[in-house]
């Protein structure tokens, strides 16, 4: 499938600071999300993943700016849109957002039904009754009782608020939903249910999704393709199966091995030493070089170019040693022996 809904091409995003040493939050980022695909963006805090989400809907802070590169939505360049153009053409109608802290993103002094009416007023020509009816239908979709549409947000528990937010995100039938850590604040059982709802939307609503998270297991389970970010650079992108089976960027490899897997409690976890660099000034080096067990002088001499991984479609790693990585990693890490999963059933 080569029908991208959202494309990032060599995007740089900077935050200006008073002293003039700008923060280069995102550097030379390229990836694309296909129509009807769920795309996972993973990385640790401060790696630039939320900045990317903000840039897509024109929501960067006042000192933030896309300084070069193109962001295309359905083929049209949107990175230079004005506030008005974003409002008319993009926000809610085409791209909606499930924000990180749902508890804070509903208006606390407004009934949910009124919040829907307000949204309908600005973006549609629905009447008030139609607007409320539509919310009622959506409450059923996300598993909330429709009798609760006239409640205030504080009457809802965390998981219910998260579902209400999803209902609002679907309200104008967008083509792309950006979910920024949609379940981080929730307990495991609730997280699993919300993710299950989000998964169900794919076919029923024909949407694409950009799922931003630090939890690589959520991406591996629920997404079709993914990108791994480190220190403002995209490290690796490809389908989840390709990235899982044949990771070629050292960070992607170590991250996978650092993640606890409940099936194998005896497995030694990989440790990634150090922390990502401060992104002040020009980023003309690999930001992972200082933490990388396989770094070479050339890693610090220039930002790495994308290397296509042979045999896979759309699988790229931004590492100068991508070709050798398979052997290097095999020497460094304990092989994933034929461990037996200790979980009974469900296999």
């Amino acid at each position: 499938m080569t029908d991208p809904i959202l494309e990032f091409e060599d995007v740089d995003i900077r935050y200006r600071t008073e002293k003039g040493n700008d923060v280069h939050a995102v550097n030379d980022a390229s990836f694309s999300i296909n129509r009807h695909d769920y795309f996972g963006l993973v990385g640790e805090s401060g790696c630039g993943k939320s900045t990317i989400a903000d840039a897509i809907v024109g929501g960067l802070d006042a000192n933030g700016e896309v300084t070069s590169g193109t962001i295309r939505y359905k083929g049209e360049e949107i990175q230079d849109y004005s506030e008005k153009e974003f409002n008319q053409n993009v926000r809610w109608k085409e791209i909606s957002v499930i924000p990180q802290s749902s508890m804070n993103s509903l208006d606390p002094v407004m009934k949910l039904s009124n919040q829907a009416v307000e949204m309908a007023k600005y973006h549609t020509d629905l009447t008030k009754t139609e607007a409320i009816d539509r919310l009622r239908e959506l409450f059923e979709v996300v598993g909330l009782s429709e009798s609760r549409i006239h409640d205030y947000p504080h009457q809802f528990s965390g998981g219910m608020q998260q579902r209400a937010i999803i209902a609002f995100a679907l309200y104008l039938r967008p083509s792309l939903i950006i979910a920024d850590e949609p379940t981080t604040a929730l307990d495991v059982i609730m997280q699993d249910q919300i993710i299950d709802y989000i998964n169900g939307l794919k076919d029923d609503w024909d949407i694409s999704m950009l799922m931003i998270t630090h939890d690589i297991s959520v991406v591996f389970e629920n997404c079709d393709s993914m990108a791994v970010m480190h220190g403002g650079q995209v490290a690796e992108t490809g389908s989840v199966v390709d990235v899982y089976d044949r990771p070629r960027h050292p960070y992607a490899i170590l991250l996978q091995n650092a993640f606890p897997d409940v099936r194998f409690p005896d497995r030694e976890l990989a440790v990634i030493d150090g922390h990502p660099p401060q992104l002040r000034g020009e980023v003309d080096f690999c930001t992972f070089a200082d933490r990388c067990p396989w770094a070479q002088p050339e890693c610090r001499e220039g930002a790495p170019d994308a290397q296509a991984v042979a045999g896979d479609d759309d699988h790229q790693a931004w590492c100068v040693r991508a070709d050798e990585m398979e052997e290097l990693a095999a020497e460094h890490l304990e092989p994933k022996a034929e461990e037996e999963s200790i979980l009974g059933g469900g296999e």
Partner: protein, 354 residues
Amino acid sequence: MSATDPVLELESVDKHFQTTSSFVESVKERIFGEGPKLVRAVDDLDMTLEQNQVQGVIGESGCGKTTLLRTVMGLYDPTDGDIRFQGKSTSEFGKADWKEFRRKVQIVFQDPFNSLDPKFSVRRTIAEPLEIHDIDYERSDIEEMLEKVGLTPASQYIQQFPNQLSGGEKQRVAIARALITDPEVILADEPSSMLDVSTQASILNLLNDLTSEFGVSMIYISHDLSTVSYVCDEINVMYLGRIVEKAETRELLSDPKHPYTKALIQSIPIPDPHHKRERATIGGEPGDPIDMPEGCRFKTRCPERMDVCDRKPRDVDPDGDGERTVACHLYYDHEATAGQADEPAGEHTPETPT
């Protein structure tokens, strides 16, 4: 104390909170003869921590994990029940006993960003407990401890302030501060949950080495079963103030008995796109801790609900080998054990105040 005695024992510990401190409300309750409304955050809880053992406690937010930790620490007085440290009940502790207890039982908090004093250097942070307990120390002792928790070279870290450290480094300092007084027990409250995955792994590995290297025991509290399984020998599953299942880690994961444990395990995402996981079928949220259902507290979400669930389940040993317990009616024959009948439903509801 012999070498095989447990370090810490909790016996039927309760910690209840009143929901109102309003005078008018209390008078009303008296007049109408109702008991005060209670949040039974910890209810009839038993736990034994052996030497060198790591006991995990998992459960959803609001299940009473943190209350349990604070009660063990002595920050809350237990409403009922007995906590014994090295064989002596904390209710009989005098001032000197408490001081000794506070030296031997140390906490590592969830949030390293707030649990270190921002104006204390690493040296002062780690020296503080030693000074409080009048323990002589040299700078080299502190450096040695820093090296042990992986902050090398120690000379580089010793003069730094928390704002110069990353999250993982801060948590290592917090662990060093806990270990410096040579404690018997570490209480760890989700020590890795605020950290990024790459640092989380190193903290988990460090905690894993602690028990063997320093001979400490640990109670490790978390909501994340996948990290708990890396650290703990035994896991206690807590639901609305009660422990519903307790077993050795591998046994719990491979053969969970309680429907709640099963649901928890089924809800953990697996970092493998080839793995197809069966999702849990239970409802999403725990009930209200104030108006809790009588009998089994999980019955409102339980897929295996039976009539008998209106009675409080006993802890039973499903395999009969004395190594695990589960509090669920599914696992015992009610007629065969009729002599030791279940407690009637009303017994653990609040009594009227005396």
